[in-house]
């Protein structure tokens, strides 16, 4: 059984006990423990259940690569699924529960799947559940969904209480990995004066070297590591981050690093995760290597672990998976585990070495301690139902005939090591297969390249294939120097450090144990532990023609679990290559993609959440709207008042009241969101002539003109009023939603096409507050507050503008109207906006001045037959469809969209044209309703002859009014046509239709007498 050793554990503090719970059971660990080491120390062997067969599983690894020991962490608001026990540092009161089982971890009903794996081979679901058809949706799929998934979702009724943040940095170097290679790289880079961010994903510097008994310059690695970190901390150009994983490398040296700031010690008011967004000239990936499992029957049983993980747990935490541990290996490194176990007083019954010879320094040292070393041997099977009871040994080159049963309670396996090349590969770095060591390592000739075509990621140490500690430091120094030279920075002349570690003999690739295992055994050799993919599954995929590694991956789900194949990919690839009779490099690898290990969604979103998840734009008058009960609607990043309901009023009531107040008295609209763009320069007029369909260059200073803007494809994209401020200056008004887009559109043309025109544009939308004073009493109100501008019809006629002071405010007044009433749109400096608004309201009380919102604005413009961008237009409508031919210049040679509008379909007389619509019964036509025509088209769809574009109840007219586009509409005045609805007349019946008469779109004041006063 797993246990805590009486002494040892370099990372734990035995004086500090930490109480935590697992599945409600109160357990004790030590400060410095991971959840995995603490559970192991508490005798908890089974920590999770596998995905497909729900097999009981224990911990197998010691880092982010852990596929089995995933738990639900926390409770209520802080609940989080799928936390790796191996990277979870324990703290007082930690609560963990195991996942993917019912009713309990030890007794899981889902385990029946494990009894019939023979009937559930890879891809079985593609071959069955086909009949009867409705059963997939209603029977099979719900069952599969329930048994799949891992952790439990957070409760949707609770909000994540934690904070996440993002930091931005620019640096010369990011060094990923704080093992000895990373530290060596940082020291060299530090001496050169480079700005460095050094990230280590775990809570400790130094990586594996202290566990592996490495000596540097004659002292234990630990001493050198401490000195190195001390030195680095004193260097101002070095920035050290623990618990910070480099998650991804992107084009142009963009790096994401994920720092788990307080997962190990949760506190209120401390940010939980921090995402670093770094622009770095180079990236040094000192990311080490990962050990590979061996594929033998029963290799997934609780108690079977990676040899390095066993060693980590014993040395770092004083926890062991068992008292009698069999080692099985194809290399010398695993012998270190035997030595560590023996040193800790545990029993190693034997080391099973698949190689024909095991005569290196490490095997000799192991033999010298009286441990049996069995060369040329393998494991035929692991006995035990819920954990290892015995290892059955066989010859590696045979079919698995059992030679001996070795009683044991744990097995430490090692299939060799694979460099962690993820960061090299994220941005397109290529790999080469090194046959001698049986691993992929970075191909130095094919690095990921930056904007200049130069490599910008360098692997250092084990990540570069320099696994042996002596080579690791040397390689790290060389790689760093190469990087610094590329960056034109000085390099030191420091000699390589002296590292003493035992020499290692070569490993022998072993992909299947034993080599000639039959189908029954191969169906019990796990490749991907979490997803339950076995050797037999990969071989089945190959047999069925899923020969590409991507096909195999997708067909079997190999490498698609939460560890993303960190343990399984190379073994799976080798088995596939074997099945295809191909070499491993011919089969290739799957693509490595960010993130290296999963990162929280919270960190990706950062601080941008809740009300600030997008920027919020406020007009100078926003505060008044908020204080006065406005009902808001989002318009771009703005929030505009839709209406101002009074107590007891519905939104509809409020809108009707606001409209009547404007039509009969005076209304005030906060129009500050309206786009305002200054276009200035000798060529400004010429430029606007190209942008607008009509002529703007002939506009006189002091005058305004309405204009239409089309896309290159001829479609109407924006409209608005242009005012000429002086000979060279125009003020362009755009729609609220269009301001930024239109400004970008202008710059696009100016910078890409007409770069030699002398025009300058500036978006001054937020520099002004703009208030529309609208209604028959508007002039009276303005005269009351006093103006030094003559506001009379004669001095300031419709479509004129003037500058002066109104009510003591600097102001520009535009005589433009979107409602058909007498209207003054008044712009004042943004800082004066609120005061001006307050003044108008106060002075307007006697005239019944009423603030109104966007909906009243929309209804009034529809009553007047004015089009609205986004309602009458949808990206397929041209000005000619809307009866706006008068706003299209016939004289101009060109404007944007002119050529497009000459294409045959654009000039087609059958195009739908703008009309007004009145229902026969006065009701309001539904939004988006279509005008029905006879018959169906070739595809069986009902024919149509038009559609509703805007539809409202008009309080002015006391009935429903609508605008729409209808085929030959303007020629069919008075005709009655039918519109569809989505509501059936009675249950089961066809949807109702509504009859409407085609009328002029101008419902109100067709002569324009009201706005022209």
């Amino acid at each position: 059984m797993s246990l805590r050793l009486p002494k040892g554990g370099r990372l734990i503090d035995r004086d500090k006990r930490v109480v935590f719970s697992f599945n409600g059971k109160r357990l004790t660990g030590f400060a410095g423990d991971t959840l995995a080491s603490a559970l192991m120390g508490s005798g908890q062997r089974i920590m999770g259940r596998s995905f497909k067969y729900h097999r009981p599983r224990g911990v197998v690894a010691s880092g982010v690569e852990e596929p089995n020991a995933l738990v639900n962490l926390g409770k209520g608001k802080t609940h989080e699924p799928n936390q790796r026990a191996t990277t979870t540092e324990i703290f007082q009161g930690l609560q963990a529960t195991s996942q993917n089982h019912w009713p309990s971890l030890s007794w899981d009903i889902g385990e029946v799947n494990a009894l019939i794996p023979r009937f559930l081979p890879a891809g079985f679901y593609y071959k069955t559940f086909i009949h009867p058809r409705p059963f997939w949706k209603h029977v099979f799929e719900p069952f599969i969904r329930q048994s799949a998934g891992l952790g439990k979702a957070p409760d949707p009724k609770l909000q994540d209480p934690d904070r996440y943040e993002q930091f931005y940095a620019h640096t010369d170097l990011v060094i990923a990995g704080g093992g000895i290679a990373g530290l060596q790289a940082a020291l060299e880079a530090g001496r050169s004066g480079a700005q460095v961010i050094l990230c280590e994903q775990s809570a400790h510097w130094g990586g594996r070297a202290p566990v592996d008994g490495v000596e540097i310059e004659g002292q234990p690695a630990e001493v050198w590591i401490k000195n190195a970190v001390d030195t680095l901390e004193k260097m101002e150009n070095i920035h050290l981050r623990l618990r910070c994983m480099v998650a991804g490398v992107y084009d142009h040296g963009y790096v994401l690093a994920y720092e788990r700031v307080s997962d190990h010690a949760p506190q209120d008011d401390v940010v939980r995760h921090r995402l670093w967004r770094i622009r770095s000239r180079h990236v040094i990936a000192a990311t080490g290597a990962l050990e590979r499992p061996l594929s033998f029957a029963g290799n997934d049983k609780p108690g079977v672990m990676l040899a390095s993980a066993v060693r980590d747990h014993v040395v770092n935490y004083g926890s062991a998976p068992g008292e009698r541990v069999v080692i099985v290996t194809n290399n010398d490194d695993a012998y270190r585990t035997a030595l560590v176990l023996a040193e800790a007083g545990l029993t190693v019954p034997c080391v099973v070495d698949a190689r024909a010879r095991a005569e290196g320094a490490l095997p000799k040292a192991v033999r010298a301690r009286g441990i049996r070393v069995l060369a040329g041997m393998g494991i035929s099977n692991i006995k035990g139902l819920r954990g290892v009871v015995a290892a059955q040994l066989c010859r590696q080159d045979g079919a698995g005939e059992v030679i001996e049963d070795v009683i044991c309670d744990a097995v430490a396996m090692s299939g060799g090591w694979s460099p962690v090349v993820h960061l090299w590969s994220h941005c397109g770095g290529k790999l080469l297969w090194e046959k001698e060591n049986s691993f992929f390592r970075p191909d130095p000739d094919k690095p990921p390249t930056d904007q200049n075509g130069e490599g910008f990621v360098i692997c250092a140490g084990a990540a570069n294939g320099a696994l042996h500690a002596g080579q690791t430091l040397e390689d790290a120094l060389n790689s760093t120097r190469k990087s610094l030279q590329d960056l034109n920075m000085p390099v030191s002349d420091q000699a390589f450090l002296k590292v003493s570690v035992p020499e290692e003999e070569k490993l022998e690739p072993v992909w299947i144990m034993p080599a000639k295992a039959g189908p029954k055994k191969r169906a019990k050799m796990w490749l991907d532990f979490q997803n339950d993919v076995k050797v037999s599954d990969v071989q089945l995929a190959a047999r069925e023609g899923y020969e590409s590694v991507e096909h195999t991956k997708r067909y079997t789900t190999l490498g698609m679990a939460t560890d993303q194949g960190k343990l399984s990919n190379i073994n799976g690839l080798a088995v596939l290559a074997g099945a295809l009779g191909a070499e491993i490099p011919q089969v290739g690898t799957t693509t490595f993609r960010p993130p290296y290990a999963p990162i929280s969604m919270g960190a990706i979103a950062g601080e941008a959440r809740g009300a600030l998840f997008q920027p919020l734009r406020r007009t100078p008058i926003q505060g008044w709207h908020e204080d006065n009960g406005a009902h808001f609607e989002p318009v771009g990043y703005w929030r505009r008042p839709y209406c101002f309901p009074r107590k007891g009023e519905s939104h509809r009531d409020a809108v009707n009241r606001e409209i009547l107040a404007v039509r009969n008295g005076v209304g005030l609209l906060d129009a500050s969101t309206l786009g305002k763009i200054i276009v200035k320069g000798p060529d400004a007029g010429r430029f606007l002539d190209m942008l607008y369909t009509n002529v703007m260059s002939s506009l006189k200073p002091g005058k305004c003109r309405y204009g239409l803007m089309c896309s290159e494809n001829g479609f109407l994209m924006d409209d608005g009023v242009v005012a000429r401020l002086d000979e060279e200056t125009f003020l362009v008004h755009t729609t609220t939603g269009g301001a930024d887009r239109i400004h970008a559109h202008m710059e696009d043309w100016l910078q890409c096409e007409w770069w030699d025109w002398k025009v300058y544009t500036a978006n001054v939308t937020e520099a002004f507050a703009q208030i529309a004073v609208v209604g028959p009493k508007a002039r009276a109100l303005l005269n009351k507050i006093g103006a030094d501008i003559d506001l009379s019809k004669e001095a300031l006629p419709f479509m004129g503008w003037a500058e002066g002071r109104i009510g003591g405010f600097d102001a520009r007044v535009f005589r433009i109207s979107f409602s058909g009433e007498l209207s003054f749109e008044i712009a004042v400096p943004a800082s004066q906006g609120r005061a001006f608004w307050d003044k108008l309201l106060e002075a307007g009380a006697e005239f019944g001045a009423t603030p109104y919102g966007t909906e009243a604005l929309h209804v009034m413009r529809a009553e007047k037959g004015f089009i609205m961008i986004g309602d009458e237009t949808d990206g397929t409508v041209i000005p000619q469809d809307l009866g706006l031919d008068w706003a299209i210049s016939k004289k101009k040679d060109d404007y944007l969209g002119k050529r497009a509008q000459e294409r045959s379909h654009m000039a087609d007389p059958e195009r739908w044209k703008l009309v007004g619509l009145e229902t026969l019964d006065g009701s309001v036509l539904p939004d988006g309703s279509y005008a029905l025509d006879e018959g169906v088209n070739e595809n069986g769809q009902g024919n149509t002859q038009g559609r509703v574009t805007s539809t409202y109840f008009s309080p002015t007219l006391g009935r429903g009014i609508a605008m729409g586009l209808v085929r030959h509409g303007p020629d069919r005045m008075g005709e009655v046509i039918a519109f569809n609805t989505t509501k059936p007349a009675a249950k089961g019946a066809a949807p109702k239709t509504i009859k409407a008469r085609i009328v002029s779109p101008v419902f109100y004041d067709p002569e324009g007498e009201k706005q022209n006063v």
Binding site: F119, Y126, G149, Y250, G428, R593, A608, E633
Partner: protein, 414 residues
């Protein structure tokens, strides 16, 4: 072809599954085919399949540069819906959706079509009006959709946050028979069926040139030698522009990266597919339990199948607002695909300036859902020279200004 069934699995179980035959053959190319399709993605394979099934044309090869189904067919977020606005779009997507309903039975391969329902949230007044218009259009197009209330939205998707501080949910366009399918299985199922009726699927073979005589296609050059053909179908998505150039004409296509991501798997919490266009993101939960997430396409043209972080960030922000529980989930995997975009964001299924060469491309961000309908229409066009489903999508439309613009209905990649 041996049929797949539970009995077949049981029979094989006792032989340790050593008796399964290949899902598709891996033949040497013949010297000549009546029809060659370039591109063994979903659309190419479906085109071949319906050429055989509907038109009896079986001397067909499908040539693939990499591995079949390895492009956008295997990189999308598997959403199937047909609630489009414009008639031609609704026609072809609804044809596709209805073929998906019975595709598993038709192909004898479980593509796991799951009509779990798709909703598109309305979060502005403008969006409400837009979706009501789509609902009215769909009613005439034979596409079953309805505009539903926020309360119904919450019933269908309990993890949704209706009352976000910025964009409260005001309703949704709901298509109950929309849903998802297993994307790889669609490619594999079609490939197996094509192979079974005698068609050759030739992988790891790049088409390097198109041979023409007097404006008529006569064959292709490949990395495995020349192959003669009577007709040629180019169905290569992101690389359509490159293939068109080899055939001697140009296409109005731009290629951009579209990204998607999945969370780590969790137990089922979400049955339906939800798209939130105002905030730019959509999400569903796969049968494995992963939350499958997508958003907008990158803003610049490229071919690299990887994208920038910024779009993913924007998408995740939007979805945390919409589904707050995902804040405490982790992003597991994140990938990109190259999508081929036309000026009006609608596909091209068309004859080309070269006699005998047909092109099917421009599916942009929404091609997976169209696969069966696209193959059906393309096969009909290639066999008969005319297809009611394809006619509106001809290349001529750009010259005539006859755009099929869906942007009003779909402001987000999908």
């Amino acid at each position: 072809m041996r049929r797949y069934s539970a009995f077949a699995i049981a029979r094989q179980a006792f032989r340790h599954h050593e008796g399964w035959e290949r899902a598709w053959r891996s033949p040497e190319p013949k010297a000549r085919y009546d029809v060659v399709i370039v591109g063994a993605g979903g659309h190419g394979l479906a085109t071949a399949y319906y050429l055989g099934k509907n038109h009896g044309i079986r001397n067909v090869a499908v040539i693939e540069k990499g591995w079949l189904g390895g492009g956008n067919t295997g990189r999308n977020t598997t959403i199937i819906r047909s609630n489009y606005l414009q008639d031609p779009s609704a026609a072809i997507y609804e044809k596709a959706r209805s073929l998906y309903e019975t595709l598993s039975q038709d192909l004898n391969y479980n593509v796991m079509f799951s009509p779990r329902g798709v909703m598109m949230l309305a979060q502005t007044e403008h969006e409400i009006r837009g979706y009501q218009r789509t609902a009215h259009a769909n009613a005439l197009q034979g596409v079953a959709t309805e505009f539903i209330s926020p309360r119904r939205v919450k019933e269908l998707c309990p993890i949704i946050n209706l009352d976000g501080p910025r964009y409260p949910v005001l309703g949704a366009l709901w298509q109950p028979r929309g849903g998802t399918a297993r994307h790889d299985a669609v490619a594999w199922g079609y490939a197996r069926a094509c192979s079974d009726i005698g068609m050759d699927i030739i992988q790891q073979t790049e088409v390097t040139g198109v041979q023409r005589e007097g404006g008529q296609v006569v064959g292709i050059d490949t990395t495995r030698g020349p192959i003669a053909c009577g007709k040629l179908g180019i169905v290569v998505a992101g690389h359509s522009g490159v293939m068109a150039e080899r055939a001697g004409f140009r296409l109005p296509i731009e290629s951009v990266a579209l990204q998607a991501l999945v969370s780590e798997p969790i137990k089922p919490v979400m049955d339906v597919v939800v798209m939130a266009n105002t905030v730019h993101g959509y999400m569903s939960q796969s049968d494995k339990g992963e939350m499958v997430i997508g958003g907008g396409a990158d803003g610049y043209n490229n071919y690299t199948q990887r994208g920038s972080f910024h779009h993913v960030e924007e998408t995740v922000r939007a979805l945390i607002e919409t589904f707050p529980i995902i804040s405490r989930l982790k992003m597991l995997r994140w990938w990109g695909g190259i999508v081929d975009m036309t000026g009006d964001r609608s596909p091209i299924i068309s004859k080309t300036p070269v006699e005998g060469v047909f092109v099917n491309c421009g599916w942009g961000t929404g091609g997976f859902k169209a696969i069966p309908g696209s193959g059906w229409a393309m096969a009909e066009l290639m066999a008969k020279g005319h297809s009611p489903l394809a006619d509106a999508f001809s290349l001529d439309r750009f010259r005539e200004g006859r755009f099929i613009d869906e942007s009003v209905a779909a402001g987000v990649a999908h």
